[in-house]
Symmetry: C2
Subunit: 338 residues, 2 copies
DNA sequence: ATGAAAGCGCTAACAG
DNA sequence: CTGTTAGCGCTTTCAT
């Protein structure tokens, strides 16, 4: 047991008294091989603890099972779930997810392009839009690139993107059904593509109904920003009865700001609806009405699209809209169940 | 631009009018090569968009930069942060993290051992203890195995593990300083190694001081379980004035159970302390005192240990205790700052 | 300092 | 059905 070398197909072949090709065939799904030979080889392989070297196999086949997932702010509840389900969906299809977490997009380019060294089977991006150079590179190397809720670049890969108009309508309906008529919406200044899309779609929708909508800037999409925004915009909020926080994290912060710092009653004085349906939205202290984005479904679609692109590198770009689901809870006056 | 093949070192060599070895040397840090040649090669490489194929390089050098991170329950706040910092620390050291998420340990074995096909540079485990077979395999193939807060297996790899006695003492001190004398501790039934360690260490400590400690079983380590446990153990809790929830998630659930379902005042009727210091602990609705585990520090240590093991495969097993830090907030009576 | 040559471990086309 | 042969793209002695 002082042998630290991995056994190779050669070792197995010798022990089984066959050629290396036979061993290879034995581990290749659709290959023709006699039962007897296979048994011999399997026995030898088991005895030696043989496992085919994936690196060598990939080198030969010009294609690895490696898929890069690019995700910033992984410590954020919704992103963590996205990554969890992406990872799971990829593994279920036999891929191996490589996790790249980069907060600042400067770090990104070298990292991404160095990933391409691995002959990736695909790249799935859920955070910043990758630099144009990387997009170009993916295209040239025919590495499928799937963008989830990201800013579309010209020619920039397949996209899974929520329908911002439907999203805004779902949020509006929840608030309106709960009796809200004078609206406000939190507008994060780190202008993520779909988040900003929701803000504008909501604003447009409200105005189209002849009602007023206040756009309240807030620093970013965090809890802290939501709470600060509630305090900062206290005067405006006093004139409103319905608040759309474009992210549940923001909504939780805003709720604490409204109630704890500011003494408002929710939903009596103000109805609040968030977006995403993170776990904390269901916590009793928040009991937040929201619009659910289903990350599991989203991940499934992303992997399907990636596989499609692997087959059909030249098919026109895909754009998919995963379904949304309104979730009614206490912040819009639904009686608590518990 | 209809060429989808990656340029190889051969292409670069031809264009630069040198041999493939020269190209290789040019991309190998400590190799001796004339400046002039290097410039020619670099120019050719840039022109072709050449990047060394990592698969081939690894095949040759028998060693990849790939490190598997095994993490269950990635959608849990503390775990998500652990993975984020692990990923970041690995990338900073030039490694490439492969993310494996497996909830049930049945799925685990084939997955893990299939990872070994990639000539991993290491494996970092933050969820279930890997099956003994995999541990053995890692040992045989000399793949460094680092376990974070996991059940130690005989011979089972290096460990980063919080000091449960210190952890229990920190929690106890916070509660005791806040005036608690009759204690309860939540005991999750999914018996994670360190969580159970905290429970027992806390219990032992309280008893050693001649005070009583109630062990309150709860289903697992989730928010929902914490809330349910608070309801279920209402009678016992009425006799207590200090609660140690072995996880912040449990603590948040318990707090909502105590306050919202049960009408208790925290900290007046009951002081509560959690563990981990997840983001939600700092949210105004909870303002939870807790003991911080620093996942960034933890990740740094894990990667250091892994690198050490890569150098010294035969050195004796390491066991590291990252530092803990008590965090005082409202649930133990610290006046709110805001 | 550079090039030729020999592989790393595997797969696949081709005979037999 | 099986073995032989020729690489995949790279690194690394070994001469020169």
């Amino acid at each position: 047991m002082t042998e630290h070398r991995r056994p190779t197909s050669h070792d197995v072949a010798r022990l089984a008294g066959v050629s290396r090709s036979a061993v290879s065939r034995c581990f290749t799904p659709g290959a023709s091989i006699a039962d007897e030979t296979r048994d011999k080889i399997m026995a030898a392989a088991a005895q030696l603890g043989y496992r085919a070297n994936a690196l060598a196999r990939n080198l030969k086949s010009q294609q690895s099972q490696l898929v890069a997932i690019l995700a910033s702010r992984l410590d954020t509840p919704f992103r963590a779930r996205q990554v969890k389900y992406l990872s799971r969906a990829l593994i279920a299809e036999g891929f191996r997810p490589l996790l790249l977490t980069a907060e600042r997009s400067d770090d990104l380019e070298p990292l991404l392009s160095s990933m391409l060294d691995y002959n990736l089977a695909g790249m799935i991006v859920t955070s910043d839009t990758p630099p144009a150079a990387v997009i170009e590179e993916c295209k040239r190397l025919r590495v499928p690139l799937v963008l989830i809720n990201r800013n579309p670049e010209p020619n920039g890969g397949d996209r899974i993107e929520l329908d911002t108009v439907a999203a805004a309508k779902a949020a509006f309906d929840i608030l309106h059904d709960a009796g809200a008529r004078r609206f406000a919406v939190l507008q994060p200044e780190d202008r993520t593509y779909t988040v900003i899309g929701r803000v504008h779609a909501f604003d447009a929708l409200v105005r189209s109904k002849g009602m007023t909508c206040h756009l309240l800037p807030c620093e970013n999409q965090s809890y802290v920003a939501g709470r600060a925004a509630a305090q900062r915009h206290a005067d405006t909020l006093r004139d409103c009865d319905g608040l759309f926080a474009t992210t549940d994290l923001l909504a939780c912060g805003a709720l604490d700001g409204l109630r704890l710092d500011f003494g408002l009653q929710v939903p009596r004085d103000m109805r609040v609806v968030g977006f995403d349906d993170i776990e904390q939205a269901s916590w009793a202290a928040y009991d937040l009405s929201t619009v659910r984005q289903d990350p599991e479904r989203q991940a499934g679609i992303a992997v399907e699209v990636m596989q499609f692109r692997l087959q059909m590198p030249d098919a026109p770009t895909l754009l998919k809209h995963p379904p949304l689901e309104p979730i009614l809870r206490g912040t819009t006056g639904k009686p608590e169940l518990t």
